[in-house]
């Protein structure tokens, strides 16, 4: 009874177009942000920050990027990690080769490089659809990683192809502790999530969804397929590129191209499917699921004092089983589950 829009009348379309039309939602989000910005850095342990929250945020960003492409524009892609790699290695090279380049600018340039690669590999999407496209995007995955291992210039001639991310210094302020890194990542992710939400609620977003839902009709209405799809590839790759740069700079530190392997692409795909295809919130929920669940299971399995190999295998099985379980409960992902929960709450205490 407390959670509903009754009594909240919109007097302008502007108000109605808000991201969160319900006051309670807006408040909740503000509180959440306040907690994330103020409380978390104060109370969270370095472990929580540097091993859970930072990767969670980075993966959320990558998942958001993939969601733009797959969830909103309907182009299934398995090349996410490749775009992340481009972002990371490009940022590394920009910082290395342009003395005095601000780190954030390098991230943006890294993202733009990824966007370029995204456009190049997005071209086939004009003809290829569905799982054919997905399998074809694997070409990106393998090709990019191969280039990174084969072109010594990209890794600054490091003998083994490993790069070490430069320290993050912005305006003379070093982001070197988990706390600071967390805040930096949080800021980037929040801003980019907001931008994504804006795109999605305006014409670009609608063009993506239109192409996703029925591309022929979208064309008849006047959307240009090529421009729309390539833009989706570009924006998505940009997001993934920035996420990849953060992955290297704010999380791993030293990376080899192999860190951006197919496995990572798949993990990010899992995130959006579990979280909710075509939902910004879903990207976050999915990332939380895929990052947290194995940790929880691991902790749990250890508390059972099983032999480790048994525990590890059980973990894997339970993880798989839970994925299936959640899909059966709600095929549209956690975000939908959340939404249904909210709808129920709105009707509460009446069942319908």
């Amino acid at each position: 009874m407390f959670y509903r829009e009754a009594g909240q009348f919109k007097t302008s379309y502007q108000a109605d177009g808000q991201i969160f039309p319900i006051l309670q939602d807006r408040l909740a989000l503000l509180v959440l942000l306040a907690v994330a910005i103020v409380v978390v850095p104060l109370v969270a342990s370095p472990y929580a920050l540097s091993a859970i929250l930072i990767p969670f945020l980075i993966f959320s960003l990558a998942a958001l990027g993939l969601n733009i492409l797959t969830g909103y524009a309907g182009q299934l892609s398995l090349g996410t990690a490749a775009f992340m790699a481009v972002g990371a290695f490009a940022s590394y090279n920009f910082i290395l080769r342009i003395p005095g380049l601000p780190v954030l600018a390098a991230f943006v340039l890294g993202g733009l490089s990824a966007a370029l690669v995204g456009i190049a590999f997005g071209l086939p999407s004009l003809r290829i659809r569905g799982f054919y496209l997905a399998a074809a995007t694997l070409a990106t995955q393998f090709f990019v990683v191969w280039c990174l291992t084969k072109i010594p210039y990209l890794t600054n001639y490091s003998s083994s192809g490993v790069i070490t991310a430069q320290p993050i210094v912005i305006l003379g302020y070093a982001f070197d502790t988990p706390n600071r890194k967390y805040l930096l990542v949080l800021a980037v992710v929040v801003v980019m999530a907001l931008l994504a939400k804006n795109m999605i609620r305006s014409n670009v977003g609608r063009s993506w969804m239109a192409v996703r839902d029925m591309d022929v009709a979208a064309e008849v209405i006047g959307f240009r397929l090529m421009r729309t799809k390539l833009l989706a590839f570009a924006v998505s790759s940009f997001y993934c590129g920035v996420a990849g740069a953060l992955y290297a700079y704010a999380y791993l530190g030293t990376v080899e191209p192999e860190a951006y392997n197919l496995d990572l692409s798949f993990r990010i795909l899992f995130m959006i499917i579990i979280g909710g295809v075509g939902s910004v919130l879903g990207s976050f929920l999915g990332a939380a699921f895929i990052v947290l669940l194995p940790v929880l299971l691991n902790v749990l399995a250890h508390s059972l004092t099983l032999p480790t190999s048994v525990a590890s295998n059980l973990e894997l099985m339970v993880f798989g089983a839970l994925i299936i379980f959640f899909l059966i409960v709600e095929p549209h992902g956690l975000a939908r589950l959340w939404q249904i929960g909210k709808e129920k709450l709105r009707l509460w205490p009446f069942p319908h």
Binding site: S45, P46, Y47, S50, A51, I52, P55, F142, W146, T149, N156, S158, S159, S160, G161, V162, T164, Q166, P167, Y251, L252, G253, T254, V255, E256, P257, E258, A259, D263, L264, V291, P294, V295, N298, H302, P307, T308, S309, A311, S312, N313, E315, L316
Partner: protein, 413 residues
């Protein structure tokens, strides 16, 4: 202050490398149990905790972060994964926890002035590569005989496989053999084209720088193409039972590097007797006791325990040492013949003596050959390659790293 010496083990027992992971960590834990049975290190028991990384860098980092603060703080970590090791490399100095990378990772990390908390103990890839060429030269009847010979470097196309290239290239120039580099795309489950190329090139030796399933496939494909296995020399990650058993007879005659001499040792007998006989062994399958990975784990644990002992000598006998103190122990390790004899592992691993300049401490390896059933050492003595060369490369490379990271190289106290 807990009395136990706690060690973090971000291990992997599922996934593609589970076979190696379970052997290696099994060996470590077996030795720890053995030490604890006899009262620990001067009365300090060793404790440890495992965490499943699936060989995945990001999960590995999480494991490290989770494990490091437990039980009063981890004092040592060993991920047995290059990716994970890189992911935590930057964090070690901050957390003051030493990490060993026994037989893997970046070779230049042996420079303790630049990498104070990293210990690529026993031997690095560069020294191994140098030793390989030395062995091949000796086998052919002297290093000068290498001139004009063809050596194929068949490698896992990744940072790991490319690591020895500087050494091999330098040696190829020095001794005048032709180095043919043939990469295999991971995971390498199909190598027909590579082996056709090899057969075409008619090399005198093939260095198999592989990892995981790629090794068995290489050996099988060599057989399929009628290439003699005697001419193939594997890296130590291509020299375990896991690499040869699945090939059946195909691996007969194949040899590989190792830093553990195959055979039986008193310490292994003790493990069998005191642990497995009582059902307290860590390996699910007792037939794997004394296997290459298991022995490698035991060796790692021996070195750590010796380092703990050394640290206790300096900072207080019978007391738990901190990560910083253990770092000192690792840096001032001197496991000589006498110590090895004392722990029942004489001959099993080379003597190791570390210093701030040399976190590797040895660089000596042996060659073993598969007879269809088990590995046998075929070099009676430990082989050491051209250390001057590797030292030069190490200095250059670590200096570049230091410059990039803005580190002033210095020894820690």
């Amino acid at each position: 202050q807990p009395m136990e010496q706690y060690i973090a083990l971000p291990s992997y027992r599922v996934g593609p490398y589970a076979a190696g992971g379970s052997g290696f960590y099994g060996g470590i834990i077996d030795y720890f149990n053995l030490v604890n049975l006899s009262g620990g290190v001067n009365g300090v028991k060793i404790s440890w905790e495992e965490c499943e990384t699936e060989y995945n860098p990001s999960r590995g980092v999480e494991c490290y972060e989770r494990l490091k603060t437990k039980n009063g703080g981890a004092t040592l970590v060993e991920p047995l994964s290059t990716g994970v090791a890189y992911g935590i490399l930057d964090r070690l100095a901050v957390d003051k926890i030493p990490m060993t990378m026994i037989g893997y990772g970046r070779s230049d990390a042996a420079n303790g002035k630049v990498f104070p908390y990293v210990f690529p103990l026993i031997t690095s890839y560069w020294n191994q590569a140098a030793a390989m060429i030395k062995y091949l030269g000796d086998k052919d009847g002297g290093m000068d005989k290498l001139k004009g010979k063809k050596i194929v470097h068949l490698y896992h196309d990744s940072a790991f496989g490319k690591e020895p290239l500087p050494v091999l290239e330098a040696l190829s120039k020095q001794y005048g053999f032709e180095l043919i580099k043939i990469p295999v795309t991971p995971p390498g489950s199909e190598q027909q084209s590579q082996w056709l190329q090899i057969r075409q090139a008619r090399p005198d030796h093939v260095i198999l720088w592989g990892w995981g399933s790629m090794n068995a496939v290489a050996i099988k494909t060599a057989q399929r193409n009628g290439f003699p296995r005697e001419k193939i020399l594997g890296v130590w990650w291509a020299g375990s039972e896991e690499d040869t058993v699945p090939t059946g007879d195909a691996a007969k005659g194949y040899s590989a590097m190792t830093f553990n001499t195959p055979g039986n040792y008193p310490v292994m007998d003790e493990i069998r007797k005191k642990l497995y006989a009582d059902g307290k062994g860590n390996l699910a399958d007792a037939s794997r006791i004394g296997s290459v990975y298991h022995m490698r784990g035991v060796s790692a644990a021996i070195l750590w325990v010796e380092a703990i002992r050394a640290a206790q000598e300096k900072f207080g006998k019978g007391k738990r040492v901190t990560g910083e103190q253990l770092r000192w122990g690792l840096e001032n390790l001197n496991v000589d013949e006498a110590r090895l004899k004392a722990v029942g592992a004489f001959g099993m691993l080379p003597r190791v003596k570390t210093s701030c300049d040399d976190h590797e401490g040895s660089g000596a390896v042996k060659v073993q050959q598969w007879d269809g059933k088990k590995w046998n050492a075929i070099t009676p003595n430990w082989i050491v390659g051209d250390k001057a060369l590797t030292r030069k490369l190490l200095e250059e490379s670590s200096a570049a790293y230091a410059a990039e990271k803005k580190i002033t190289p210095a020894c820690l106290k």
